[in-house]
Structures are given as structure tokens and as C-alpha cells.
């Protein structure tokens, strides 16, 4: 692992520590005063509380939606490789087609659907996570499919077939274990992409509600402050969002390089 990935990993640990520390101090009622003061939109909330809460939501939905889309992608890719033929071609073409639809458009439509059905100011966190999984499966599916395909060409996979290991078992017991490093790297690279997508959609007001903001929603809700003396109230959120995305990307990138080198 290179120094950039190490630094990224350290940053992620610190960011996670920040959210947990904040939660613990809140529970103990020992929270120090927030240096950035009160949230201008909601005077009874501090900027620190809103931003760290936003960081937590962004982190949570990034990780869960990332894990969800990678799990779905792995399952689909395994099915595709196992069944082959038309099924595999169908998944490949389906992913390609899905890939050409702009993510933001789909999320906006899903947001309208949610509001029409359940009402409320924005969409709920679980709905947002589900939407992000629904739009995020295509790219990792193709990547995992290609990875499995190239792993299946390895000599010891042919050797496993030659001693009569059934195809499903070959995929699960011999091929998949070789793909773990790559899957983890794809997951870590999916997380920042998802956080950015969600931030964009929530910034524009089509995502999470303002009283339960992600980093993107908080920034979108206070975009006017940027040009005023109160810019310090949004600077921490911008900084945390940038740190979060860059840190995930660096760790994922480092792992991907390693996985690629190992082959």
C-alpha cells in the first residue's frame, strides 16, 4: 500500500471516529460548544451537529449502498458466468443499456415517486439507499463479470474442471476466493461515487430532507451563505465532503492497483 492509500485510510478512521465521538459526547451531554455557532436555518441546531450528522448520513448511505450494489453485482455476475449463453448476454446488454441512462435523472424521478406515494419534504434514508443500489449495479456488474471471466482462464481453474468439480462449485470455491481483493477495491471505489451522486441530488433538493441532511443536503440548503460573511458555517461541510470522497478513492485505488499487480 502506498502512502496516499495509508493517508486515505487514516483519514477514514478519523472521520468515522469524529461521528462516533460526537454521538458519544451527545449521549453523555458533554458536548463542547460549537465554534461555528448555530445553524442559520435552524437556530436550535448547531453547525457542528448538522455537519457531523450529515457526515454520518453520507458515510452510512455510501457504505451501505456501495455494499448493496457490489453484492448485487457479484451475484448477477456469478449467475451470468454460471448460466452463460443468452442469460449472460442479456445481463451484459442490460448493464450497458442501464449505463446509458443518466443517474441523476432516475434519482429525481424516484424522488418524485417517493413524495407522491409517501409524502414528506424529501425521501427517507432507506429509500435513498435502495435507489442508489438500483442505479448503481450496472458498472460493478460488468467489472466483476470481466474479472471472473479472466480468472476462469487460469490454469488451476481448468485443472479443477479436469478433476470433475461441477461448474457452480468451481465458481464459488475456486474462482470467487481469487476475486476478493478486486471486489473490495470495487466496493471502496463505489462508495465515493455514490456519496457524490447522492450529494448532488440532495444539494439540488431532490434527495434527503433538510431536517435529516446528508452533507450534500446541508450544503444545498445553505448555498446562499457562500457569498456572505457566514461562509464559515458551510466551509466545514465542504471540507468533510472533499476529505471523505478523496480518502475513499485513494484507499480503493491503492487496493485496485494491488489486486491488478497480483495477477
Amino acid at each position: 500500500m502506498n502512502w496516499r492509500s495509508r493517508l486515505g485510510l487514516l483519514t477514514l478512521v478519523l472521520l468515522a471516529g469524529l461521528t462516533f465521538g460526537h454521538a458519544a459526547l451527545t449521549a453523555l451531554d458533554a458536548l463542547p460548544e460549537c465554534p461555528f455557532g448555530a445553524d442559520p436555518g435552524m437556530p436550535y441546531e448547531t453547525v457542528c451537529g448538522q455537519v457531523i450528522g450529515g457526515l454520518w448520513r453520507s458515510l452510512l448511505l455510501g457504505v451501505t449502498a456501495g455494499a448493496g450494489s457490489c453484492l448485487a453485482a457479484t451475484a448477477l455476475a456469478l449467475f451470468a458466468r454460471r448460466l452463460g449463453g443468452r442469460f449472460e448476454l442479456g445481463i451484459e446488454k442490460g448493464a450497458e443499456l442501464f449505463f446509458s441512462i443518466p443517474d441523476l435523472l432516475v434519482l429525481i424521478v424516484l424522488g418524485f415517486v417517493s413524495r407522491a406515494v409517501w409524502g414528506g419534504e424529501g425521501v427517507t434514508l432507506p429509500f435513498m439507499i435502495a435507489s442508489l443500489v438500483a442505479i448503481g449495479w450496472a458498472a460493478p456488474t460488468r467489472m466483476v463479470q470481466n474479472r471472473l471471466r479472466s480468472l476462469e482462464r487460469l490454469d488451476f481453474i481448468t485443472a479443477a474442471h479436469a478433476i470433475g468439480v461441477p461448474r457452480t462449485r468451481v465458481l464459488l470455491r475456486h474462482v470467487l476466493p481469487m476475486a476478493w481483493d478486486y471486489l473490495l477495491a470495487i466496493f471502496l471505489l463505489r462508495v465515493p461515487a455514490i456519496i457524490l451522486t447522492e450529494s448532488t441530488i440532495s444539494y439540488l433538493g431532490f434527495g434527503l430532507p433538510l431536517d435529516q441532511p446528508s452533507l450534500g443536503r446541508y450544503l444545498g440548503g445553505h448555498w446562499q451563505l457562500l457569498a456572505t460573511d457566514d461562509w464559515v458555517k458551510v466551509a466545514p461541510a465542504w471540507a468533510l465532503l472533499a476529505l471523505l470522497v478523496v480518502a475513499f478513492h485513494q484507499v480503493g485505488r491503492g487496493l485496485l492497483d494491488r489486486a491488478e499487480e497480483a495477477r
Binding site: 488451476f156 481448468t158 479436469a162 478433476i163 470433475g164 461448474r167 475456486h174 481469487m178
Partner: protein, 320 residues
Amino acid sequence: MSALLEVTGLTVRFETKRGGLTAAEDVSFSVPAGGTLGIVGESGSGKSVSVLSLLGLLPGAKVTGTASLEGKKLIGASEAELTKLRGDRVAMIFQDPMTSLDPSWRVGDQVAEPLRLHRGLDAAAARAKATALLESVGLPSPAELARAYPHHLSGGQRQRVMIAAALACEPALLIADEPTTALDVTVQAQVMELLARLQRERKMGLVLISHDLGLVSEVCEELLVMYAGQVVERGPTKRLLSAPRHPYVAGLLASTPTLEGTGRLKEIPGTVPDLRLPLPGCRFAERCPQARPECTKSPVSLLDEVRCLFPLSPSRLSHV
């Protein structure tokens, strides 16, 4: 006596984006129970492709012809039927032991896997049998070795592990595809000795694939020589070595160093033809010292064990 393995008119074709390629054409041979057959040819001659296709190990290949193992048909058999045969009645060992073992599995588990699949042994019984197998292929402290991972082992040790896994279910036929090519010369001799011994002890059929005529002739009673996807000559090893009838086989022998030989080795001029191009006549004609105009006109069929319009007679061998 009915044959253990019977192959007739085997043709293997690949469809590529730049057109079709027939990697093996009209290959026929048989191996009696307990018999040994050597398949010899340069790389790309279709020797590996022929046997891999028999076992259904070439995804994407179009395989035609007929082939049966112990009376069960191989070509056209379902994936499930083939999976049942592989590792049980027929086993295979590969060229490169460094890459043919799963790096994330313990050696003992890899040897035990066919036993669990085909014999339904539980983990403990399979492990015990695997340890015994590792010992039978001449590996020291097998119990300890069974817990090691492939990267702990040398190339020769890994090939012995491959052999142990292949023999686990006591197959009637073992196919060895260049089993010693990737090994050191001294280890090569040991592995060949081991294979020959196991073949004799277990009265198992053996198909040995190699580019090395000398190596194969030491172990095999029958030889099959392939060139550019076709069988050019086949017959008993002794006869083929002493009196080859196809000019290619004669050229191969002339280019093999001997202990007594002095002076420069003869080489076969030219290179193997591109199998994507149409090859109307004899595929060796371009490189053949005896070629005549008729040779390139129409396809030459395998007649009397040799695919040549003008086969050599023993007395003419000295001119090659």
C-alpha cells in the same frame, strides 16, 4: 479386446472474429486398457487441443467426430456426464505445476477434492486418503505437506501433488499434457519415472502428450505424430523410430541429438503453416524435401497409418 479410449474423426474448430480455425482435423486413435500412447508434435500441432476437447475442457470449441471412454460417449455428452467422468474414470495432469494448483487451497485439500466429489468421502477420510496418496507419489513427510500451500512447494513437488490428485480415484486413463516441460531436467526424469511406475502398477491407460519424441518413446508403446492439426503418422514406437515413413517424422528424428552423434544436427527448414489460411494439399509439402507437384493439389488422407502420397521406405531414410 475393446479399447479403453476410442477416437474417430475428431475435428476441433474455433470460430474467431478473423474467421474459423481448425485446430485439429480428422484425428483418430485408440488406447487399449492399460496401454500407453504418446502424442507428439510441435506447439500448435493440435495435440493438446485434441485431448482437451475430448474432456469438454475447451469452452467455445466446436468439436465433431466420435469418441468413447470405456464405451461411454464423450463427444456430445452433457456437461454433467463429463463432470462425472473427469477426475474419476479419466484424469489429467497439466504442463505447468506452478499454475495448475489453486494457490488459496491447502495441498491436501486439493488432492482430497476428487475423493469428496466422486467417492463421497467425508473430510477426515478424504484427508487421510490424500495423505496416503501424497506418500505414494514419493513426497516426504506427507502429513505435514498436506497442510502446506502450493507456494511452499517446489515445481517437482507440485507436479507430484498434481499426479496424486489425478490418481486419487484410480482412473482407467491418465492424460498427461507435457507433464515435465516446465521442470528441471533432473526432476523431469524423476517425474517420468514416477508416471511410468504408476502406470505399470495400476495397469492404467496413459496418453502422454509432448513435443519431445525421445521422452515419449521411452514410456509409450504406440506413437501418434501430429503436424498442423493432422495426424501424419502413427504406429508402434519401435517401428516408428527405426523406420519412419512420413518425411516430417524422419526430419524430427534427424533433428534429435543422440549420444553417438557428431556434427551439426539436421533441421527442418521453414515454419508451420497458418491454420487460418486454406491448405489444399499436404500441410508439410512446403517444408518437405520429397515434395512433388501433386502434393499440394488435393487433401492427403491417412492411409496405412501415414498421411503421405510418397511415404519413405526404410532404405530411403538415409537421403533425408
